[in-house]
C-alpha cells in the first residue's frame, strides 16, 4: 500500500513539474516579442530620431547580416500617434526598388515595389485605422487623391527602402536612391 502511495506521489510530482515547465515555456516564448530590445523596431528606432532616414551599413551587422549584398537599404522609424506619415522613394524604371512598412512587434503590413512607380517615385501614406477614416472622409469623390494608403494596426513602426543593383556598377546608383528616401508627416 505504501509502495502504491509512493508511486502515486511520484507521478503527481512529475505531472506538476511538467505542468510548470510547459507553462513557463509557453509564457516565455510569448513574452520574447514583448520584452526583446533586439527586435528590428528597437534597433531601427535607436539608429536615428523618428522620421530621419538612415542608410544601413551592410558591414554593421546591425540589421540583417545576410541581406542580399546587391541590395542598398535605408530605414526610418515612425509613430503614427503624431499623424499620418508619407514615405517616398525615388526609383529607376529599371531594376527593383521597394518600400516595406513594418510594425512594432514584427511583421510587415504593407509593401510596394517600383512596378507601381509614378513620376519616378513610389509613395505611400501610413496611417492608423482612425486616420484612414478621417482621410477618406476628406476625399473629393470627383477628384480622388490617388495616394496609396497603408493602414497600420499599431501606431509605431518603421519603413525599409530597398534598391537592388542588377550589376556591381549600379551599386552607387542604388545607394543614392535609398539615400534619397523621405519620411515626413503627411499634410
Amino acid at each position: 500500500m505504501r509502495l502504491i502511495g509512493g508511486v502515486a506521489e511520484t507521478i503527481r510530482l512529475i505531472a506538476c513539474l511538467a505542468l510548470v515547465a510547459i507553462s513557463v515555456h509557453v509564457v516565455s516564448v510569448l513574452m520574447v516579442p514583448l520584452l526583446s530590445r533586439a527586435d528590428a523596431y528597437s534597433l531601427v528606432s535607436r539608429l536615428a530620431p523618428e522620421l530621419q532616414v538612415t542608410k544601413l551599413d551592410p558591414r554593421s551587422r546591425l540589421i540583417d547580416a545576410m541581406e542580399d549584398p546587391d541590395i542598398s537599404a535605408s530605414v526610418c522609424a515612425f509613430d503614427l500617434a503624431g499623424g499620418p506619415v508619407k514615405l517616398t522613394l525615388p526609383v529607376s524604371p529599371d531594376g527593383f526598388s521597394s518600400i516595406a512598412l513594418h510594425q512594432e512587434g514584427g511583421g510587415a503590413f504593407f509593401a510596394l515595389s517600383n512596378s507601381a512607380a509614378e513620376n519616378g517615385r513610389i509613395e505611400v501614406v501610413a496611417l492608423t485605422p482612425g486616420q484612414a477614416l478621417d482621410r477618406a472622409a476628406e476625399d473629393d469623390e470627383d477628384n480622388p487623391s490617388g495616394e496609396v494608403r497603408a493602414v497600420a494596426s499599431r501606431s509605431r513602426g518603421f519603413a525599409v527602402f530597398r534598391s537592388l543593383a542588377l550589376l556591381p556598377s549600379q551599386r552607387d546608383a542604388a545607394a543614392a536612391l535609398v539615400a534619397g528616401a523621405r519620411c515626413v508627416r503627411a499634410e
Partner: protein, 191 residues
C-alpha cells in the same frame, strides 16, 4: 520537510526546464512554417504580422528584417541535391529552373553568416548578369577555387549557405513550391 522540498523542486525545476526548453527550441529556429523544395527551404511567415509564436519570438531576438511578401521571398539552401551539407572543399553547379520573379539573386555566406572574402569581391549573382546558353539556361559554379564561367567563390573549408532571393514574385506566402521550380545544386567534385 519532504513536501517543501517537493514543492521547491516542482517550482524551480519546472521553471528551469521551461526556460531551457524555450531557449533550446528558439536557438534551433523550429517555427513550423517551412516550405521545402529540393535543397531549398523558405519560411513563409517570417515577415507576416500573424506569424506563429515561435517565428515571432525568433525574429524578435534576431532583429532581422525579412523581405515583405509584397517585395519578394528568400529561399535558403544548406545542402546539395543529395542532401549532403554544402562544403567549401567541393565544387557545385547551381542551375536549372528558377521560380517566376521579375529579378532574382543568388548570394553566399559562410556557416557563421559572414560574407566570404575573395579577391573578386563577388558575393552574389543577379539574374541579369549571368552568362546564358542559347536556351536561356545558366550555370553558376560555387567553389573555393576559380572556375570558368560564372563563379561564386565559396570558403576554402567549412560549410556555407546559399540564398536565392526572388524580387517581385507572384508566389505569395503560403504558396507551394516544387523541386522542378527551383535551381538544382549538384556536387561535381570534392577535394
Amino acid at each position: 520537510m519532504l513536501r517543501i522540498v517537493s514543492i521547491l523542486l516542482v517550482l524551480f525545476g519546472g521553471a528551469a526546464a521551461g526556460l531551457a526548453s524555450a531557449k533550446y527550441l528558439l536557438d534551433r529556429n523550429i517555427s513550423g512554417d517551412v516550405v521545402r523544395a529540393g535543397p531549398w527551404e523558405m519560411r513563409v511567415s517570417e515577415s507576416l504580422a500573424r506569424a506563429d509564436p515561435y517565428a515571432q519570438a525568433e525574429r524578435a531576438r534576431s532583429g532581422a528584417i525579412a523581405l515583405a511578401s509584397g517585395e519578394g521571398l528568400t529561399l535558403t539552401a544548406r545542402s546539395d541535391q543529395q542532401g549532403e551539407p554544402l562544403d567549401g572543399r567541393c565544387v557545385y553547379a547551381v542551375g536549372g529552373a528558377t521560380p517566376a520573379a521579375r529579378f532574382w539573386s543568388l548570394s553566399i555566406f559562410d556557416a557563421d553568416g559572414r560574407p566570404v572574402p575573395n579577391a573578386a569581391s563577388r558575393q552574389s549573382f543577379s539574374s541579369t548578369e549571368l552568362s546564358r546558353d542559347p536556351q536561356g539556361g545558366y550555370s553558376i559554379m560555387v567553389a573555393s577555387q576559380a572556375q570558368p564561367g560564372d563563379w561564386l567563390p565559396a570558403p576554402a573549408s567549412g560549410g556555407f549557405v546559399l540564398f536565392l532571393r526572388l524580387y517581385d514574385t507572384p508566389i505569395g506566402a503560403g504558396a507551394s513550391l516544387t523541386s522542378a521550380q527551383v535551381p538544382t545544386i549538384s556536387r561535381l567534385a570534392c577535394a
